[in-house]
């Protein structure tokens, strides 16, 4: 079997950071600096092939075997629970998944708490662990608007600095979990490309 390792990286700042780590670890690919119209970048000498995809799609590419390894946020892994190996916490892209709202808005009693979020599975699991009845409102963006307009009591979302929340009169009420970028691997690729994949993980671990 071809031992070239296909690596799916998230587009954007996080992907750039991870590529820099890989480059320092000896897995760079000069083509990336001059991408032109190319979508896939290969360095045959060090046996890697890169491509950049939407951050929320990395786990799908890896689970389905289109990429052997990839880098995905823990938020995506918790929300979609793909059947993959999670080899390393890269300790970058750090933020937290929180319940946010106006102070005291999570204390409502007498009716289910209305929670707006795009992370419905994480939200369900969190409130289920508290045995609390909730009404989930699935939104795809601008989550902070929901409590301001009375659509929900609170929101569950990712908080990095908290600036957007503060500017809209909201604050962190409860922390659900810490989030960071993780190196993930397709389970079958890990078995058939064990040496190159574990070597990449070990090299990256030196920069964490």
């Amino acid at each position: 079997m071809d031992q070239t390792v296909g690596i799916a990286l998230p587009k954007g700042r996080l992907g750039d950071k991870v590529y820099n780590m890989l480059d320092r670890a000896g897995y760079g690919c000069p083509q990336i600096l001059d991408p032109g119209r190319r979508l896939i970048f290969e360095n045959k000498e060090n046996g890697v092939r890169f491509f950049f995809v939407k951050p929320s799609d990395v786990a799908i590419y890896v689970e389905r075997g289109a990429a052997d390894i990839g880098v995905a946020g823990k938020d995506i892994l918790l929300e979609y629970t793909p059947d993959i190996y999670e080899l390393l916490d890269l300790n970058i892209g750090r933020c937290r998944m929180c319940v946010c709202g106006v102070s005291g808005s999570n204390e409502i009693a007498g009716r289910p708490l209305r929670v707006a979020t795009k992370f419905t599975n994480i939200t369900k699991e969190y409130y289920s662990s508290l045995s609390r009845d909730i009404d989930i409102i699935h939104l795809n963006g601008s989550i902070e608007l929901a409590p301001i307009l009375g659509l929900s009591d609170v929101i569950v979302d990712i908080v990095e600095t908290g600036t957007t929340l503060r500017e809209n009169g909201l604050s962190e009420l409860e922390k659900i979990t810490d989030i960071s970028a993780r190196l993930i691997s397709n389970k079958v690729s890990y078995k058939f490309k064990f040496e190159p994949i574990t070597r990449i993980a070990e090299k990256l671990a030196e920069f964490v």
């Binding site: 999670e86 397709n186 079958v188 690729s189 078995k191 058939f192």
Partner: protein, 366 residues
């Protein structure tokens, strides 16, 4: 008879090859109906992969289910006696799709061995799993593990019961960073954390993995599972059947179903496990049967995309006839092409979308 892989599809070829393999070991075919009463599955939900069942009402008003599982039906009908009940099957099951709503049909072939399992029988089932993979592709891996190893380690260690399930999920993802975090928060002794992470990461050939396992500070319950792995490994290697078999302790199949040796099989090019099986004595006990059972399923539908190549030809040779050809001569030509190992289609014009390697045009006998 040699089967033409291109014509049949890899799944169909595998189905024939595996049937022949299982019959050569004396397994008899189990045939079942497409439906069972819904109550039967509802009572045994723990033993079904996924929770969704497709139901309908039959003409007598009974709530029926399209079968989501085959093993349950085999065990229900199995007669436990002094000898083994050895059966194989080739059936479809119906389960919820992984990501979207709706259901999908999964073609499965596999076998079950029911009775008082001894070392030979356990090794026979494991080696048949390995031979099933080898029959599909030479580039295969069979991972084996033991459900009693991690659970035995938990019982022997100071890890509290309420963390076991979470740690098993993390083990299955080889996620040692979160496992360490969880254990540190719970104040687990460092010695137990180190052993746990070594177990989660443990992977190697039978000899490599067992050598590593012997160096770990394991208690009596975990060691009992290690000894069973050692016994099976020794037999398989002595019989020359240990090739491509690895021990990987992160393999944690449904703990509500399996209780002993478990295994999963992989083929290069297929992105998920194509074979899954193990020992499931609990199901027999639930059905009031005093015996053990072991088996596996091969998911033939996963082979459909293997070696798929969008440039692959529908036919090697397309002959366009003029309508004035010598029929006998044309028949001879077609037979010669087919006897030469190529596929051949005769038509009057090129069918839309047909991919062909060569195009021949007759000259109408001129």
């Amino acid at each position: 008879m040699e089967y033409n892989v291109k014509l049949q599809g890899l799944g169909e070829k595998a189905m024939f090859d595996l049937r022949s393999l299982y019959e050569s070991y004396g397994y008899r075919q189990f045939r079942m109906s497409k439906f069972e009463e819904y109550d039967f599955y509802a009572q045994n939900r723990n033993f079904i992969t996924g929770s969704s069942i497709l139901t309908f009402t039959d003409t007598n008003g009974h709530l029926m289910a399209l079968k989501p599982d085959i093993t349950l039906s085999i065990i229900k009908g199995s007669k436990i006696g002094a000898n083994f009940d050895k059966v194989y099957y080739n059936e479809s099951v119906y389960r919820a799709a992984d990501s979207l709503s709706g259901f999908r049909e999964i073609r499965q072939t596999g076998l079950e061995c029911i009775g008082n399992l001894d070392l030979y029988t356990i090794c026979e089932v494991v080696s048949l799993a390995a031979m099933s993979l080898a029959a599909i592709s030479g580039d295969y891996i069979l991972d084996i593990s033991h459900m009693g190893l991690l659970s035995g380690f938990f019982s022997d260690s100071e890890i509290p019961y309420d963390l076991h399930e979470q740690l098993l999920v993390l083990a299955e993802a080889k996620n040692i960073h979160d496992a360490r975090l969880l254990c540190n928060k719970a104040g687990i002794p460092q010695r137990d954390i180190d052993t746990l992470t070594s177990l989660i990461l443990l992977r190697g050939t039978l000899n490599e993995a067992l050598t590593k396992l012997r160096t770990l500070p394991l208690g009596e319950q975990a060691m009992s599972a290690v000894r069973e792995l050692e016994d099976v490994s020794q037999v398989l290697q002595s019989a020359g059947l240990g090739k491509n078999i690895y021990i990987d302790l992160s393999l944690q199949s449904n703990p509500g179903y399996y209780n002993g040796l478990v295994f999963k099989g992989y083929i290069a090019g297929v992105p998920s496990a194509i074979l899954s099986g193990g020992r499931y004595d609990g199901l027999l006990r639930k059905m009031g049967k005093d015996a053990g059972a072991m088996g596996f399923a091969v998911y033939l539908n996963l082979l459909e995309n293997l070696y798929s190549d969008s440039s692959q030809y529908d036919v090697d040779v397309l002959i366009l006839q003029s309508g004035h050809d010598d029929a006998a001569e044309l028949l001879r030509l077609v037979k010669n092409i087919i006897d030469g190992g190529e596929t051949c289609r005769v038509d009057v014009k090129i069918p839309e979308g047909l991919k062909y390697r060569r195009l021949l045009q007759t000259d109408g006998g001129k």
